[in-house]
Amino acid sequence: MKSGNSTSPDMLLEIKHINKEYVKGIRVNDDISLSLQAGEIFGLLGPNGAGKTTLVNQIIGLVKPDSGSIMLDGVDVIANPNFARQACSFQAQTQVPITGLTATQAIELVGRVRGGSAERIRQRTRELIELLEMEEWAKKTAESFSGGMRRLVAFCMAVVEPGRVVILDEPTNDVDPLRRRLLWREVSAIAEMGSAVLLVTHNVLEAERAVGRLAIIDQGKVIGMGTPASLKETDGESMRLELILEPRVEAPLPPGFLQHTFVTGRRLVASLEDSNVAPALEWARNLKETDIVEEFSIGPTTLEDVYVKMVGRPDALEMLDEEVKNAPSAS
């Protein structure tokens, strides 16, 4: 079962050249390779249908790759899916079946199922409920939970007895801003305890703050990988301009110094070089004075800009906005 020689010693999870087609000719995963170290938070970003969930499902043995290898702690998990399920704890994108259970019962049950002792799990459950300020719901059954509260309980179920790899698929969807912050704090704590955290998300803004490294995948392929800073460095233009148009106003034609202009709804985002900040500022001011633009801002490039540019479709950002607000469907 062990095959230590093909695995880098410091990598906990090594995914190499994974290919998967559900329908002949349509590659959902196309030669995906990435690896996670113990103790790191790794982001997997990409629009709907990019193949993120398919990749995760192959790690935990729900889906079998057509080719490629997945090694977890030196063990081939494609051949040993049971090992993967013990070694990975997972927050699925879909709802968890907790109807009829209280938050405490649901979290404790998973902790026990994952092999934790009754006493330790009881204590850890109490801790998590306090950390995420969920006391009010601790003894209530799930029927009374909002979407955000269900999501928080699902998160606790994934981290109550964390595996070597903790996979979180859109953990903050529907969760209120305050508890989001508490949740991210707990994610960092899990990584510090030595688990590798694989964070699957559309929410680039949150990912930028939470992850150490990330991979951007689109149409089944990895199209960028590195730290948020290194991805921004390779970007070329280092500044970004954002305009919010007045309602029912058509987007103005962007001047030549603006690159990669995307318009979604009332929002126009473009990137520019440092040297063009002054003319960009003037252009934007003019638009505001002529009531075309409600407000504007110029600042350093964000990961979101890099993401949109890499995905290279004007709809990437639109999808992003929508999906940050709404619970996403399977990708």
Binding site: N57, L62, V63, P81, F90, A92, G100, Q105, R112
Partner: protein, 245 residues
């Protein structure tokens, strides 16, 4: 093994807690079905003979167990498939058949009150006493598990969950009306009699009748046929829940 037993206990607790909100409704439905089978259907007969009364009363447990196994259980599984719940359940470090065993246990427990109630109501209403053999326990358990495993096979095997729903609708019809459970097989046309020689339904009714009354039944054959179907359902369920997409 201790690990599997522990997992079974925990999954059983999970399943019982999950079904709790539905239990009062389930209980009410069970009472109605039980009364419906043993009393309601007797209204179709102008003259209820002692044999008819025994067929109605002992047929009810089979019908209740098949309704649970072949209709309710697959519908719940199909719903869970639609919601993607199994992507979560199968990601837990619990052997899949341990989860299946816990789920099946709940279904058996859920149908138990209806079965007992039907027998009590039937015997009292039709005024006869049951001749209960100790074999009734394995017999009813075998009927229940066969229904549940065949039901799981349909629900997990259907290419799309909606098809499982459709299949259960057809099964209800076949089991309730075109199967010799509450009436003798001789009342069916020849081709349906031939069909039921291969299906387990008639033999399930035989198991129930043979262990609850003194009516003449080939119990050995009934145990063998239903046992074979149970095994087939179990194996098929095993294969289907272990598939990787």
């Amino acid at each position: 093994m201790p690990r599997a037993l522990r997992s079974y206990g925990l999954m059983l607790k999970w399943q019982v807690l999950s079904s709790k909100p539905l239990l009062p409704l389930e209980a009410a439905v069970q009472v109605m079905i039980a009364a419906g089978f043993v009393i309601g259907i007797s209204f179709l007969y102008p003259d209820v003979t002692p044999t008819t009364a025994r067929f109605l009363t002992t047929g009810a447990p089979t019908l209740i167990l098949l309704m649970t196994g072949l209709v309710l259980a697959p519908q719940i599984v199909a719903m869970a498939r639609t919601e993607g719940t199994f992507d979560y359940i199968w990601s837990l470090p619990v052997p899949r058949m341990v989860y299946i065993a816990a789920d099946a246990t709940v279904w058996v427990l859920v149908s138990l009150p209806g079965v007992i109630l039907a027998l009590v109501i039937g015997a009292v209403y039709h005024n006869f006493s049951l001749e209960i053999s100790p074999l009734v326990v394995p017999a009813l358990l075998l009927i229940a598990l066969t229904g549940i495993f065949v039901g799981y096979s349909i629900a997990h095997g259907a290419p799309r969950p909606q098809l499982a729903h459709l299949a259960t609708q057809i099964i209800v019809f076949l089991v309730m009306i075109f199967s010799p459970v509450i009436y003798p097989v001789e009342q069916l046309p020849g081709w349906l009699q031939a069909l039921h020689r291969g299906l387990p339904i008639k033999y399930m009714a035989d198991l129930s009748r043979g262990t609850l009354t003194d009516l003449d039944v080939n119990l050995g054959l009934a145990f063998a046929v239903v046992g074979a179907w149970c095994l087939a359902g179990f194996v098929l369920t095993y294969i289907l829940v272990h598939r990787r997409r």
